[in-house]
Every structure is written in structure tokens, then in C-alpha cells.
């Protein structure tokens, strides 16, 4: 039963990854091809709750592929991650999005 649930979560995660991938590329293509650039780059520190190394790899990879965020650095005790974001419109929305991604990865990797 537990294994079955995990397989369902993994398939759901792959679909989520592909949707985020296409969305990120359409966002960035729209931003480049329109004449006025609406970007406001900034740095953001977010707390990390993932324990396993494989989960951290998945998390930084997915964070680099989602629209408007790029993983830059991870602190030594693996508790805080520095993220560069491209659309600095509303910090709370971005933090909610990242927390949602983190919950999905914790469901898979733990």
C-alpha cells in the first residue's frame, strides 16, 4: 500500500515537473520578445526542511527550472538556500510557491 502510494506520487511529480518546464520557457520567451523588460531581479533566503541528499538535488534542480527562480547557494548546515528570483513583484507569492514545491519533494523522498 505504501509503495503504491509512492509510485502515484512519483508519477504525479513527473507531470508537475513537465508542466512547470513548459510554463517557465513560455514566461521567459514572452519576457525576452516583448520590448519592455519587466524584470526586477533580487536575492531571497528561504529555509530548507529536506533531509536527504537526493531530495536536495531534486529541489535545486526543480527550482532552477521553475519560472523566475535560480538556486545560487546552499549554506553549510543545509538549512538555508539562497535563491535568485527574476520577478520581484510579490515576495509572499514566491515563498508560497517554493513551499508548495518543497512539500511535494518531502512526500517523495522521505
Amino acid at each position: 500500500m505504501n509503495l503504491f502510494k509512492k509510485i502515484v506520487y512519483i508519477i504525479e511529480f513527473i507531470g508537475f515537473y513537465l508542466i512547470k518546464l513548459v510554463q517557465a520557457n513560455l514566461f521567459i520567451a514572452y519576457d525576452i520578445l516583448t520590448p519592455r523588460m519587466i524584470t526586477k531581479p533580487a536575492f531571497l533566503n528561504i529555509p530548507v526542511e529536506i533531509k536527504s541528499d537526493f531530495g536536495l538535488l531534486l529541489f535545486s534542480n526543480l527550482l532552477s527550472m521553475t519560472p523566475g527562480s535560480l538556486c545560487v547557494d546552499l549554506s553549510d548546515d543545509k538549512k538555508e538556500m539562497k535563491v535568485h528570483i527574476l520577478y520581484h513583484e510579490s515576495v509572499e507569492d514566491m515563498q508560497n510557491e517554493i513551499a508548495k514545491i518543497q512539500d511535494r519533494i518531502i512526500r517523495i523522498s522521505n
Binding site: N25, I28, I32, N61, G68, V72, D73
Partner: protein, 89 residues
């Protein structure tokens, strides 16, 4: 047959978008956003189109491995460049 050409054309268009973004953005981290996302997406579309055109079993396998490799290493390269740039400045 037309979807194969659509894949190839869309992939080269995304690589062109990546290079235009490389010249339009202002600072180095924004340029890294473009060259991580758009160029690996474009090369994935070109690989899918070419392997559908050639239609051989081992070509599908090689295309799958190249896509996995590119998607594992493009964020790593961006991470390494960002870290070296941040340590020097």
C-alpha cells in the same frame, strides 16, 4: 510528417531566444536564467524531432540519455558559475 519539422523549428527558435536574452538582460544572474532554461528546452525539442525523424531504436535510447544528462547538468553548471562569480566579487 509536419510535427517533426515543427519540433525542429521550435527548438531552434528557443535557442535563438536564449541568445537574444543573453544580449538583452542587464546583469549576469539574469543571463544565467536564460541560458539554463531556454537553451536546454530548445535542445530537448530538437532531439525529440530528430529521433522521431530517424525512427531507430537506439537513437531513441541515446536521445533519452542525452536529455536526462542535459537536464541534470545545466543547473549544476549555472550553480558553479554563480558560486565562482559570488566568491570573486
Amino acid at each position: 510528417m509536419w510535427w517533426i519539422y515543427t519540433f525542429i523549428l521550435a527548438g531552434s527558435l528557443f535557442i535563438l531566444i536564449a541568445s537574444i536574452g543573453l544580449i538583452r538582460f542587464k546583469d549576469i544572474y539574469s543571463r544565467m536564467h536564460v541560458t539554463t532554461k531556454a537553451s536546454s528546452f530548445g535542445i530537448m525539442l530538437i532531439l525529440i524531432g530528430v529521433s522521431l525523424y530517424l525512427n531507430i531504436g537506439e537513437v531513441y535510447l541515446k536521445a533519452f540519455f542525452v536529455i536526462i544528462f542535459v537536464y541534470l547538468t545545466a543547473p549544476l553548471a549555472a550553480h558553479s558559475i554563480a558560486k565562482s562569480n559570488r566568491d570573486r566579487s
